[in-house]
Amino acid sequence: MQNKTENILTEEIEYEPIKKVSIIVSKGSLEGVYPGLIMANGARMEGIEANLFFTFFGMEAIISKKMDHLKVATVGNPAMHMPTLIGSLPGMSAFATHMMEKEMEKLDIPPVREFIEMIHDAGCNIYACKASVDMFHLKKENFCSQVDDIITVGEFYEKSAGASIIFT
């Protein structure tokens, strides 16, 4: 059998495709966590090897008791176009979070816990930062079961050999 492809696209410079990414999630708000998760999942969907490394408040996304309760920040975020006094009203953050979650569900973006499961099942490794774990007095059992290990920054760089590092 003969498989023949005739490409009539004009020739372009060919860059080396990205083969591996290491994504750092350092923020604990809903909008701080999702970009890293979407990029990790997107990498796996493209066949790119991926590591996710959670540090400081980014660990909220993998702490079992907290990951279902992340909130959108309504104060200190000029892009919300909401005066600080209004943003600080009780329930405002919960309301904004609810609205955002509704919009995300429409786009098939899963809640944090389901997303972490999906990303891990897709073959992405998930790590917590040792310095942050020690600082917040956390243990491995505080994290969801998808967390592969608690690692030092040195180990993070070792695991990132050959990877593009993305800080979010």
Partner: protein
């Protein structure tokens, strides 16, 4: 039924052809992603050939479960389903999807199913 679906069925064209390829003696129009342009060009034999191009030698029953689900969603919505939709609704979980279609299940399964590349980010 969306108007998009109607129009795509009327002219039977899903995306723009940029090239042609010959599979099983048939000349097929393909888009910039290498996916089939005409849904009517697709059949099970073509799917098997496309699978081989993706490094999948034999399409098992599980592969077909995913492919048929994708074609069903496409015919209903006019879009190839996201990986999340596949995980939740196709009856094949994430781990198995990646095992069946290594290095990009949604993209590869869509290609083998004769559909355009999924548009969503998830």
């Amino acid at each position: 039924m969306s108007s998009r679906k109607q129009s795509s069925q009327e002219d039977n064209i899903m995306s723009t052809a940029v090239a042609e390829k010959i599979l099983l003696g048939k000349t097929l129009a393909i888009d910039a992603d290498g996916n089939l342009v005409n849904i009517s060009d697709w059949n099970e034999e073509i799917a098997a050939e496309l699978a081989k191009e993706e490094g999948i030698e034999i399409l098992t029953e599980k592969h077909w479960q995913v492919i048929n689900y994708m074609r069903k969603v496409y015919s209903e919505t006019g879009d190839s389903p996201s990986i999340r939709k596949l995980t939740k609704e196709s009856g094949v979980d994430t781990k198995e999807l990646y095992a069946l279609f290594p290095k990009g299940p949604a993209k590869k399964a869509a290609r083998i199913a004769g559909l355009p590349k999924p548009k969503g980010c998830i």
